[in-house]
Symmetry: C2
Subunit: 245 residues, 2 copies
């Protein structure tokens, strides 16, 4: 994610959750997120580091027409390639702006790509996303980033999606720490997360079981559920009891 | 930020904006955010890298009583110190759990700190945050993280807070790209961000001016405002026209 607006706290980010959920549907695991400032060097450094250690890298933000949109320049410099005008992007922008005052220099900025890049369709505003090798450069406005993800759906090589089920309970998570650890240990390939909440003086927690295997998820949910009942609690499976915040 | 729940998309993060806004009030600039998985090595690597390049490092998440809470262990290992029970934290937990079933082994986990650490008060649930040198280890539950930040308010050395004002307008940002660039160039120490939005077929943008100098902010807002009026638009200063998403 690229953008001073996130780091200043002005804008509540929505792209992390959006990209994470989309990746999961593609069977691709999100391993790390970084939010960096609108700064050539900081963007470049993050891109080089993250590109090296991962199959795919997605960026959001900084590809608009104004002076603070420097993502394309930063990535091109980090990859040591030129920035060029992509002819198809220019055409898409020309078409889009025909009835909207024509293609100005500022608008033409949105056709600039690292040399060698392909485009990612944006059927909303003409300005495309960009694919450069394993780097996917998306818009920062969440619903446009969402359209670009939609255009990429089922295009990337992924594994099996991570499945999850949640079981919630009005219980202090410290009461069930042993139960959770034992269930996770007994079910290879499972991950169990415990997410507490507090409301009107009561404590509760949602326990989220994740695995690529549906049977493993179901076994864990069943084991946590019966464990909670044995301890005298009333768990609620498959309904998040309360938002985790 | 430490947590599989953010990377899976299950939980919409709220701590980035919360920490960012609080830091700004302390006159401290947030330069980077990373979200990493509940994994000893990944947490450790991020902590070492971020601690080295910054005055302060804040973590959220992974300090509860359950098996997936490994932040303290990961940070201690990264710093090459032992994990110890902090006597004051043990006392706070004993007091808190006196009327809540007593201090179990799982609950005592929340008194574990890297050797040499101090505590950050948490007047809500007894389990404190942790300060280890320039690393501040906070809870993941947003309102508890908020209480810990409150306890740290005015404790850290900061500079002058970054000031900002916003001017919104129903205009395509590409129409005013030159204006924004010129105003920023003419006002040393200013940063101008352009955040477009789309609603019911209309395009608009909020222009956010940031500077540590109030006069600079005001000059930029005035210059953008009169520039927009000259172009035939009707800007709205000091009211965000619409949410940026």
């Amino acid at each position: 994610m690229i953008g001073d607006e996130i780091l200043s706290g002005r804008t509540q980010d929505k792209n992390v959750a959006q990209v994470a959920l989309w990746l999961n549907m593609q069977g691709i695991r999100l391993t790390e997120v970084r939010v960096v400032a609108d700064d050539m060097e900081l963007i470049g450094r993050a891109v080089v580091e993250l590109k090296a250690g991962n199959d795919y890298l997605f960026t959001t933000g900084g590809i608009g027409p104004t002076h603070d949109d420097i993502t394309v320049d930063a990535i091109a410099r980090a990859l040591d390639v030129e920035v060029v005008i992509h002819p198809k992007a220019r055409k898409a922008l020309e078409d889009y702006y025909t009835t909207r005052g024509g293609l100005t220099d500022a608008r033409l900025r949105m056709a600039r790509v690292p040399d060698g890049a392909e485009l990612i369709e944006n059927r909303m505003s003409g300005a495309p996303g960009i694919r450069m090798g394993n780097i996917f450069i998306l818009a920062g406005v969440p619903h446009i980033a969402g359209l670009m993800l939609e255009a990429l759906s089922n295009q990337l090589e992924g594994g099996r999606p991570m499945l999850s089920r949640t079981i919630g309970c009005w219980v202090a998570e410290s009461e069930v720490a042993d139960l959770l650890r034992e269930v996770e240990a007994a079910n290879a390939g499972s991950q169990i997360g415990s997410y507490p909440f507090f409301q009107t003086g009561k404590v509760g927690a949602n326990f989220v079981v994740r695995s690529i295997d549906a049977g493993t998820v179901d076994s864990c949910i069943a084991a946590i559920g019966s464990g909670l009942i044995l301890l005298g609690y009333e768990p609620v499976a498959d309904g998040i009891l309360l938002p985790a915040s």
